[in-house]
Amino acid sequence: MAGAKEIRTKIASIKSTQKITGAMQMVAASKMRKAQDRMAASKPYSEKMLQVISHLARATPEYRHSFMAVERPHKRVGYIVVSSDRGLCGGLNSNLFRRLVADIKEKRAAGTEPAFCTIGSKALGFFKRFGGDVKAQVTNLGDKPHIEDLIGPVKVMLDAFEAKELDAIYVASNEFVNTMTQRPMIRQLVPIIGEEQAAMPYHWDYIYEPDARTVLDALLTRYIESLVYQAVVENGACEQASRMVAMKSASDNAGDLIGELQLVYNKARQAAITQEISEIVSGAAAV
């Protein structure tokens, strides 16, 4: 009966693993809902800002901020890589890095050098292993990321852009399609790709305090920060969704495994009983 006992311990250990993954799945589900709410809450701010910015851009055509300038040839580009802080979330981060690596390869073929800014410890770990010019990083944002934590890293990249050390800045993060699907995306952040808007029906302009330039500068920085913040929040929702799915399949797998082991255990027990009986019977016959 040595086998039966071992199997029993194994089943018990898998059962406790299943309990953990089940709990993680439920935690991820509730966190995902909150992250989605946060995603929705951050939308009005940047939409409103874009509205004001596009108005300002049209109203003061003589001043173009460098963030809105025409594209210059890309010699060096910056990536803001948004990743999760923790693992156990399926292929979320590795899918993103794979997409990023493909993009870097493409850019490098065109003679463009990349520089990075990492958000989240998984991205930092990735560049630690593989090298790369990491200009700034921030980790441990937690479930409720705050824009304060992003001001620094974003400013490093924007300063580099203004100093012409970078010719474009991209954000690499996951897009939340639905609970089952998260798509790694690389979006251009700066120069801002302006949408063509319909001509104004009549000309009007704001009264600026203190002047258009200062206002526009302050707005643009905040707008870019809010875009990065959105990417971080969206990636957070992706992380939770992805973790939920991964933990669900882990729980299912544990269930399958327990079922199989249970069968093996029953057979082993039956075999032991049969053997005992036949021993008794043959013993009795010998007497």
């Binding site: 004001v52 292929g91 930092l124 292993r129 593989f130 990491v134 980790t139 620094g152 305090e209």
Partner: protein, 140 residues
């Protein structure tokens, strides 16, 4: 009915207030401003301080903003509030901090991105994920 103006106070992390008001007071960069309905289009930076929203009955609601932008159109006032205290030197400090953290975390690593190594590891991770998927399908 008294004339009212729509007020939205939004921050990057969520909406703070939305509603009608008879008058809105805010601390703009060049001094306090009071916005009445049909105010001409106006835009300004805000200093850290109070934003007061007065409804038709003269009741005031107070909101503290740590800075931001005030945008006024004849029928809408929008306050784009900052959630953090912003100042040039504070931002600078945050940027330096982010840089320093990166340098500390990556001390001794090469600046050259090792493309081949990264791709190899990623390919392996993806292959593992695929294998798991296949196993699951075979079982299921």
């Amino acid at each position: 009915m008294a004339m009212t103006i729509h007020v939205d106070i939004v921050s990057a992390e969520g909406a703070i207030h939305s509603g009608q008001a008879a008058m809105v007071y805010a601390t703009a960069e060049l001094g306090e401003v009071g916005i009445a309905p049909r105010h001409t289009a106006f835009i300004s930076r805000l200093k850290p301080g109070d934003v007061r929203v007065e409804n038709e009955h003269g009741e005031q609601e107070h909101f503290y903003v740590s800075g931001g932008m005030l945008e006024v159109q004849p029928h809408v006032v929008t306050v784009l509030a900052d959630t953090a205290i912003r100042a040039r030197d504070l931002d600078e400090a945050a940027a330096l901090d982010a840089k320093r953290r990166a340098e500390e975390a990556l001390a001794g690593h090469t600046a050259q991105f090792e493309y081949a190594k990264a791709q190899a590891e990623l390919a392996e991770a993806i292959a593992q994920l695929r294998a798991i998927e296949k196993l699951r399908k075979m079982k299921g």
